[in-house]
């Protein structure tokens, strides 16, 4: 009998956790109980980077984490962080489920990790103390960013001052107006309760916050072929399950935001085009840094997915 520990960084109320439970059920029932799954939610086992290190070392058999934490090992995943890369959710799914997704996770194999599926936190949205409808609205604003260079470049391109605030200090920083705004998917804004301390929200769907489901490769390779298959396939199925439940969860969260007094706006196609235009320097920066190959690959795939 094998025990597989699965770590993730979201609370037990999240869709991530529900999908993790789904994975556990699928794996345990399909292997007839030969593989047992133990789930550690809420970063119980450590931060994102640390869980990745644990998977690498085999201390943790599996983890599902934002792409940001595997970026140092597989820089190509940062392509997914580019703003306004995907026109909508369906296209994003098609691209990451296809050969492009496999391609950008490939470098992980060299460091003992097998990236097997993409999960998600949904699309990132803007929130702020003033309405954000166009890039010019960001002028002179201090916006909290994650410590990822591409996100910093994004807000610089919009004319804002990207400001590093630790995630654990973000609620207080928004409340005390150390920063004026932030970006995160709806689920995160709900779970960290940022809607309590922000007045406006723009449904911009500007960045896909993908999660990578990763498994320690030596462990996976040691399993009998049928069990290996079950683990990998179940990860994809559980990811599909998360996609099914996340929409309902987001709709519910948005209702809660409205009730808390947040004014919610949606970008019109023209406004969206303006943001896309303003994002171009970010792509130039990315290509200058990492080369055009991955971006071109993704763009071609996006075009193909839209063409269908």
């Amino acid at each position: 009998q094998t025990t597989v520990k699965l770590g993730h960084d979201q609370p037990e109320t999240s869709t991530h956790h529900q999908a993790a439970v789904k994975w556990k059920e699928l794996v345990e029932s399909r292997t007839g109980g030969k593989v047992k799954v133990q789930i550690f939610p809420s970063s119980m086992l450590g931060s994102g980077t640390q869980m990745v290190e644990q998977v690498q070392a085999g201390a943790l058999e599996a983890a599902v984490l934002p792409t940001a934490w595997v970026a140092p090992l597989a820089p190509s995943v940062q392509v997914l962080d580019l703003p306004f890369l995907f026109p909508n959710r369906e296209v994003a799914y098609k691209v990451v489920d296809g050969p492009v997704g496999t391609e950008i996770l490939k470098p992980l194999e060299k460091v003992n990790i097998e990236g097997v599926a993409f999960w998600e936190s949904g699309f990132k949205q803007f929130t702020a103390n003033t309405p954000i409808r166009q890039p010019a609205d960001y002028k002179g604003q201090k916006i909290r960013t994650m410590p990822a260079p591409v996100i910093q470049e994004q807000f610089k391109a919009f004319g804002a001052t990207p400001t590093m605030i630790n995630f654990s200090e973000l609620y207080s920083a928004l409340q005390q107006k150390v920063v004026d705004g932030q970006e995160n998917p709806i689920a995160t804004i709900a779970s960290m309760r940022f809607f309590e301390v922000q007045k406006y929200m723009t449904l911009s769907d500007h960045g896909f916050l993908a999660y990578v489901f990763m498994i320690n490769k030596p462990m996976l390779d040691k399993l009998p072929a049928d069990q290996r298959d079950i683990l990998v396939k179940a990860a994809r199925e559980a990811g599909q399950y998360q996609r099914d439940i996340i929409k309902a969860a987001e709709a519910q969260h948005l209702e809660a935001f409205k009730k808390a007094g947040v004014e919610i706006m949606t970008l019109s196609p023209e406004q969206r085009a303006e943001f896309e235009k303003a994002s171009r320097p970010v792509y130039d920066w990315y290509i200058a840094k990492f080369g055009p190959a991955t971006v071109d690959l993704v763009r071609a795939d996006v075009a193909k997915a839209q063409g269908k």
């Binding site: 980077t49 290190e53 690498q56 070392a57 940001a68 140092p72 090992l73 460091v111 002179g140 201090k142 994650m146 410590p147 990822a148 260079p149 910093q152 001052t161 990207p162 400001t163 590093m164 630790n166």
Partner: protein, 179 residues
């Protein structure tokens, strides 16, 4: 002159002094630097809207280094936090025996901890992981652990040597400051 190094300062004693000086200079300097850095960052952000993106990260990892280098000083000055009830009921001779036994346990521990933290540092080194903001090599931050363990190992050997030879050990770092 450092009172504990004996009447004629040997090369070893001189090396000990230099090392002690380096340790405390690093600890004090890193803390002073981090304070100024974060303060300047606040001013730049609030007044000029130009924050230093790496200020938080540098301060954080400097703190990790302060902890492990400072821990070595604490071994020398016997400043580590311990539940110190047993020595109260022991005779002087037994107290010394206990201290020698503990020093040996500590040496074993530091060897093990140093070894495994070194392994982890090597793994991070070979994976090419970088820090989130500066994109600096991450292994440099983890290196504080094997490095600090080595320093503490050295300091514990020193302490053990003094205990065996029944010399008094350093109880403060203040003498280093007047050096």
């Amino acid at each position: 002159m450092n009172a504990t190094t004996g009447p004629s300062p040997s090369i070893l004693a001189r090396a000990d002094q230099v090392l002690s000086w380096l340790e405390i200079t690093f600890v004090g300097g890193a803390l002073a630097f981090a304070s100024v850095l974060l303060f300047v960052n606040v001013v730049l952000r609030y007044v000029f809207l130009m924050p230093i993106s790496w200020a938080e990260e540098v301060s954080l990892y400097l703190m990790v280094w302060i902890v492990f280098v400072g821990a070595s000083v604490a071994v020398r000055t016997r400043g580590h936090i311990a539940i110190d009830l047993l020595p109260l009921v022991l005779s002087a001779a037994n107290k010394r025996r206990l201290a020698i036994a503990i020093a040996m346990v500590v040496l074993v521990f530091l060897a093990v901890f140093g070894w495994y933290s070194g392994q982890h540092t090597l793994r991070v080194f070979s994976s090419g992981q970088v820090t989130p903001v500066m994109q600096a090599p991450m292994w440099l931050t983890y290196l504080a652990m094997p490095f600090g363990s080595a320093l503490m190992f050295l300091r514990t050997c020193q302490l053990l040597w003094r205990l065996v030879r029944q010399q008094p050990s350093d109880l403060s770092f203040a003498m280093d400051l007047q050096d």
